[in-house]
């Protein structure tokens, strides 16, 4: 449900809430908190109209809207190659994939809207540069092999992140993630197959594939967020059953999966320090350049300006169309009402 304006049935007069005594308000808040705590303890779900701590609402709104923005901005590096896809089959696949990402953005904006923030306000924040999105989409897709590397590693990292989010404590977020994860399953495979085809192609094609893997490897690992000891909000998100695993846990697990898959590709990962730690039973990787991560996140990446400008342009060019459709709907509704009066 995306609506905040749902009416209540048994007629709890909302206006009357203004007149509630302070004690009554405090009692309701205590009841709400108790109920919320029980939902967390039972690992059950919070739904939009339930009482929730303001910080929980704020965290979710930020996380879900950032996720939605990432899907929408994330369309651009791949949309860039739709017109040049080297076979018609690949063109169809890529088009469907980029289109799916628009759908993911929509599912997620809907989930965020249930928290009381209209989509156009979120979109405005994005265009004003006030909202963040996944830093990786600020890197350019330089060659066709990037379509492979993005699908395999970027969608792969997204899936690793998102599968646990299907169990997020906020109902609409979890449900959106179930739908997204189902659709993502083809995204990673198509990327992997692009790379597989290239690595078994001509030497130039193989080199193109290797270079793309080299370029996207570190940004993909950074998609899991800062290291655990530098991730102040993670603990709270885990206590709220939004996050189920820490950034480093997910990242390490992902490195392990890539290590296996890269062998099938007959390519290498640009990291000499990857190893399986027999003691901890965990995969480890080499150091990541977090200074660069923060630079790009702060807006100083190769494509930040371009990505936002493109979004603004589409939005601005579309204004007259959205206005026209809204006007038309209003006129039709008015006509309908007049007809009913006349009858």
């Amino acid at each position: 449900m995306a609506s905040q304006t749902l009416q209540s049935v048994p007629g709890e007069p909302t206006a009357a809430q203004h007149e509630l005594s302070l004690e009554e308000l405090a009692r309701r808040e205590a009841d709400g908190q108790a109920y919320f705590d029980k939902v967390m303890a039972d690992d059950s779900r919070i739904e939009p109209r339930d009482w929730m701590p303001p910080a929980y609402r704020k965290t979710l709104l930020r996380q879900i809207s950032q996720h939605a923005h990432s899907e929408i901005i994330g369309m651009q590096p791949e949309a860039n190659w739709i017109s040049r896809a080297p076979s018609l089959k690949r063109k169809a696949i890529l088009m469907a994939k980029v289109q799916d990402e628009a759908g993911h953005g929509l599912y997620l904006y809907s989930a965020a809207e249930t928290l009381g923030q209209p989509r156009d306000a979120m979109m405005q924040d994005l265009m004003d540069g006030k909202a963040k999105y996944s830093s990786i989409f600020n890197y350019p897709a330089r060659t066709w092999a990037d379509m492979g590397a993005i699908g395999w590693m970027v969608d792969g990292a997204a899936i690793a992140n998102q599968v646990p989010l299907c169990r997020a404590s906020f109902g609409p977020y979890g449900r959106a993630m179930v739908r997204v994860c189902k659709e993502e399953s083809f995204h990673q495979r198509q990327g992997f197959e692009i790379l597989l085809e290239l690595s078994h192609g001509t030497p130039e094609q193989k080199q193109m594939a290797q270079e793309a893997v080299n370029r996207w490897y570190a940004p993909a690992l950074m998609m899991f967020g800062p290291p655990d000891d530098d991730s102040p909000n993670s603990k709270q998100s885990m206590a709220w059953n939004i996050k189920r695993f820490s950034n480093d846990e997910l990242r390490n697990r992902f490195v392990g999966m890539m290590m296996e898959q890269v062998r099938v590709l007959e390519l290498t990962l640009p990291d000499k320090d990857i190893r399986f730690n027999e003691e901890t039973k965990k995969w480890e990787h080499g150091p990541l350049d977090w200074a660069e991560f923060h630079e790009v996140l702060a807006g100083r990446g190769p494509c930040n300006a371009q990505r936002l400008e493109r979004r603004r342009e589409a939005h601005d060019d579309g204004t007259w169309v959205r206005e026209a459709a809204a006007q038309y709907a209003a006129k039709q509704a008015k006509k309908q009402a007049e007809k009913e009066v006349a009858a």
Partner: protein
Amino acid sequence: MTTPEPHAGNVWPIWEVFVRSSRGLSHVHAGSLHAPDAAMALRNARDLYTRRNEGVSIWVVPADAIASSDPDAKGAFFESPQGKDYRHATYYTKSEGVKHL
């Protein structure tokens, strides 16, 4: 068909989408979307929520036309059916094992 309050400017209202995944099943809430009116809401729903054969029928409902039970009243509102075991077949243990019953 009900049309939500026409919105000012260029912002389209929210619609809730219900999809029947195959004949014989109920429509199930699939998600929501924005559309200027019911006709476009149906089409957007078709494009957004049935790209992979998820449905054979779609309902769209203006989000603000949905009335819902009060979440704060959940205790009182849903208390009555609790404990009325005799509404369920499992309550009747003496007839257990009798055929076709």
